[in-house]
Amino acid sequence: MTTSKSSNWDLTITSHRGWFELNFGELWQYRDLLWIYFRRNIITEYKQTILGPLWIFIPPIVTTLLFTIVFGKIAQLPTDGLPGPLFYMSGLVIWNYFSSSFSGTSNSLSGNSGLFGKVYFPRIIIPIATLLSGLIRFFIHFILFLCVLIYYSFNSNVELFPNYYLGFFFPILILIMGIQGLGFGLLFSAITTKYRDLRYILGYCMRLLMYASPIIFPLSIVPDKYRLVILINPITSVIEIFRYISLGTGQINYYGLFYSISFTIIIFISGLIIFNKVEKNFIDTA
C-alpha cells in the first residue's frame, strides 16, 4: 500500500509497497495523535489501581532490594566494591527501559487489531507512543537512582569515582536502549501476527537476556570462556558505560559501543521493514 503523492493526486493506494517506506510527512501530520495517545497511555496505565502512580516506583525498589538480599547477601556475588543497592539499581534502570520498550511494543499489531480494523493512521504511532511513555517512566527511575546515588555520596564509608565529564554519553545510551527495544518490539509484533505462540516465548527471552547482561554481576568477574557470550549481548556495553560514568566502575569500551550502535540500527531497520510489510494486510487475518 503506497501512500505517495503523485502530481495530480493527493493519495495513491496500490498493492505493493517499497521495502523501506516510512512517510515522515504523514507522521508529522499525525503528531497530535502521537501526543494524545502518549497522554492516554500515561493517564490510563495506573487508573483503577489502589496505589496509582506509586506503581512506577515499586518495581525498581523491590527488585533492587531482592537482588541485594539474594545475590549480594546470600550468594555473595561481588559488585566491584560498590554498595549492593547502587550497583543493582544502576543496571536495572537501564535494563527496565529496554525491557519495557521491547515488551510494550511487541504487541502493537495484534493488541490493536480492533482499532486498526476500523480506521487508518500510521500504525507506527502506537509503538512510538508506547516508547515515549516508557521514556517518562525511565526518567522517574533515573531520578530515583540519582537519589540513591546522592545518599551514598554523603556516606563516608563509600568512595565513588564517577566520570561525570562523560555525561554527554547519556542521551546516546538512552537512545540505544529505546530504539533497540522498539526494533525488537516491531519485529516481534509483526511475527506474532502470524505465529501467536511466539508471544509466550517473549517472557523467557527477556529473562534469558537479563541474565546475559551484567546486571547482577560485574563484567570483571566473568570468566574468559563466557566473556564472549556476555559481550555479544548489545546491552552489556551500555550498562558498563552507564556504570563507568555514574559510579566509576566497569569500563568504557568504544568497540562495544560501536557494536551496540550498529546492532541497534540493524535491528531497528529490519523491524521497521517487516512491520511495514505485515501492517498493510495483517487485518485480513487478525
Partner: protein
C-alpha cells in the same frame, strides 16, 4: 467536474479458512521437508493440513472494480451481506491493501466504519473527544475549535469530565457520533454507522448527514437502510459477489435491488444459516431460524394463529453479554415490528437477557400473538447484539412467510384490511344526544 476518487481495476483476494497454520511448529516442519528433506509427498500432505483440506478456499471479495466519483457526490453502496461493500470501504480507507489495482484520491479522507473508535473507558468524555478526534484524523487545533459544538451536539455537557465507562450506552453513542459529525474532511467513508442508537438518534444522524452532504463534500455510504440511501444519495452502486452489478439513480436501483432480493426468496419455515454470510462482529453465529404455528413447522399462518419463532445461535466469545431481537419487514423491506428479549419488550423475564453467555449453542424463541399482524407477505430477520446495542450477528431479512385469512376471520369485511397491524382493541359507542334534543 473534478474527480475526487478514481478506482482502477481493484481486486481483493481473501484466503478463506485459516490463513496459515498459526503455529511456528507446522511451518517449520513444512520448511524442513521442503528445503532439507525435499520430501514432496509429505510436503503436500502438510500443505493441505495447514491450508485447510479444500484447496479452492480462495475468494475474490472484490474483482475488477472500476469506479470514479466526482467531487461533492454522495454515493450509496448497496448489496447483500458478503457482496464486498465493507471490503471496498476498507481498501479506500487504507485499512487493508488491495491485491491488485490502484485507487487515487484527492483531498483529505476520513473513514467512519464504527463510531467511538479508540474510546477508553477510564478517560473522561472530554479526553475521549480528543483521542477519538485525533484517531479519526483531526489535529488538536481542529478539535479545540470544535469542542464546544461537539459537546453541545452530544448533549452530555454535565458529564463531560466523567469517565465514559460510567456513561449509559445512549450517552456513549451520542458522544461518539458528535465527534464523527464534526470531521472536516473532503471525503467521508461511512459504513452503517447509523445502525446504532434509538430511532430519534438515527434521525438526528441522518439530518446531520444531510447537512454535511450539502457542504460540497464527497461521501461514500454503505447501508442496508434503503430509505436512508434513497433520501441521501445522488448515485448508487450495487455490488454483487465482488463485482459492480449496477450503477445509477438511487430510486430505480433500489427498487430493482429490493425486487431481486425479495422475489428470489421462497416461503420457508426453516432456514439453515450455517453457510449464509452474516453481519455483525462475528462473535455469534446464527445457526438456524424456524417458524412454528400451533406447534408444527409452518410458513403460511392464519391471521388468528400464534407464530412461534425459534432461533439457534452459537456464542463464540466467553462472557458475551447477548440479547436477541427479531424484526418483521414488509415487502418493501421496511421494518414494521421489532421485539427483543429486553425486559421492556417482553411480558416475562428472559433470564439470559444481557447475561454473560458461556461459549456454546443457545436457543431462544418468542411467540407473536394471533390477530396482531395483518395479512400479507413478510420477512423475518434476527439480530443478536452484545452490550445491548452492538451487533454480534445480523441475519438480514431472510425468512419469508405469509399471513393469510383463508379461514375467513374477517367475515364482516368484503375487502382487504389496510395497514400492518390488526390487533383487536376495545371499542365502545353510545348515543349521547337524542334526535329530538338536536332539533331544539
Amino acid at each position: 467536474m473534478r474527480e475526487t476518487i478514481q478506482i482502477n481495476n481493484v481486486s481483493k483476494l481473501y484466503k478463506l479458512g485459516q490463513i496459515n497454520s498459526g503455529t511456528l511448529r507446522n511451518d517449520l516442519t513444512i520448511w524442513w521437508n521442503k528445503v532439507v528433506k525435499r520430501d514432496k509427498l509429505k510436503l503436500q500432505h502438510l500443505n493441505n493440513y495447514s491450508n485447510g483440506i479444500n484447496k479452492n478456499e480462495f475468494k475474490w471479495a472484490l474483482k475488477d472494480i472500476n469506479l470514479s466519483v466526482e467531487k461533492g457526490t454522495i454515493l450509496g453502496i448497496i448489496g447483500k451481506n458478503g457482496a464486498g461493500k465493507s471490503t471496498l470501504l476498507k481498501i479506500l480507507s487504507r485499512i487493508t491493501a488491495p491485491t491488485s489495482g490502484t485507487v487515487r484520491m484527492n483531498g483529505s479522507i476520513s473513514s467512519l466504519l464504527e463510531i467511538g473508535t479508540g474510546f477508553h473507558g477510564e478517560l473522561s468524555g472530554r479526553e475521549n473527544i480528543y483521542l477519538n478526534g485525533a484517531i479519526l484524523g483531526m489535529n488538536k487545533k481542529e478539535i479545540d475549535n470544535n469542542l464546544d459544538s461537539i459537546v453541545e451536539f452530544s448533549g452530555v455537557e454535565r458529564y463531560i469530565d466523567t469517565p465514559v465507562k460510567r456513561y449509559s450506552s445512549g450517552m456513549y453513542v451520542r458522544l461518539a457520533f458528535a465527534v464523527a459529525a464534526h470531521l472536516d474532511s473532503n471525503i467521508l467513508l461511512i459504513d452503517e454507522v447509523l445502525a446504532v442508537g434509538d430511532i430519534e438518534f438515527q434521525r438526528k444522524c441522518l439530518d446531520k448527514m444531510g447537512q454535511i452532504a450539502g457542504g460540497g463534500r464527497t461521501i461514500l455510504f454503505i447501508s442496508h437502510n434503503m430509505k436512508a440511501i434513497a433520501n441521501l444519495c445522488d448515485r448508487v452502486v450495487m455490488l454483487e459477489n465482488g463485482r459492480i452489478s449496477n450503477i445509477g439513480e438511487p430510486k430505480k436501483l433500489i427498487r430493482s435491488y429490493l425486487e431481486s432480493n425479495m422475489s428470489t426468496k421462497t416461503f420457508s419455515n426453516e432456514i439453515d444459516m450455517t453457510d449464509i454470510p452474516q453481519g455483525g462482529n462475528g462473535t455469534v453465529s446464527i445457526k438456524k431460524i424456524r417458524l412454528f404455528g400451533d406447534n408444527s413447522p409452518n410458513c403460511n399462518f392464519d391471521v388468528g394463529e400464534e407464530i412461534k419463532i425459534q432461533v439457534d445461535y452459537y456464542n463464540q466469545l466467553e462472557g458475551n453479554k447477548l440479547c436477541i431481537y427479531i424484526s418483521i419487514h414488509n415487502e418493501n423491506e421496511e421494518v414494521i415490528y421489532v421485539s427483543g428479549n429486553l425486559n421492556s419488550l417482553s411480558i416475562n423475564t428472559d433470564k439470559w437477557f444481557n447475561k454473560p453467555h458461556p461459549i456454546g449453542l443457545f436457543q431462544s424463541y418468542c411467540i407473536i400473538p394471533g390477530n396482531f399482524i395483518n395479512t400479507g407477505n413478510y420477512f423475518l430477520s434476527v439480530n443478536i447484539q452484545y452490550d445491548v446495542n452492538q451487533h454480534a450477528a445480523i441475519s438480514g431479512p431472510i425468512l419469508k412467510f405469509k399471513i393469510s385469512d383463508e379461514l375467513g376471520s374477517i367475515r364482516e369485511l368484503n375487502q382487504e384490511l389496510l395497514g400492518y397491524m390488526r390487533k383487536k382493541i376495545y371499542w365502545e359507542s353510545k348515543q349521547i344526544l337524542l334526535n329530538k334534543d338536536c332539533d331544539n
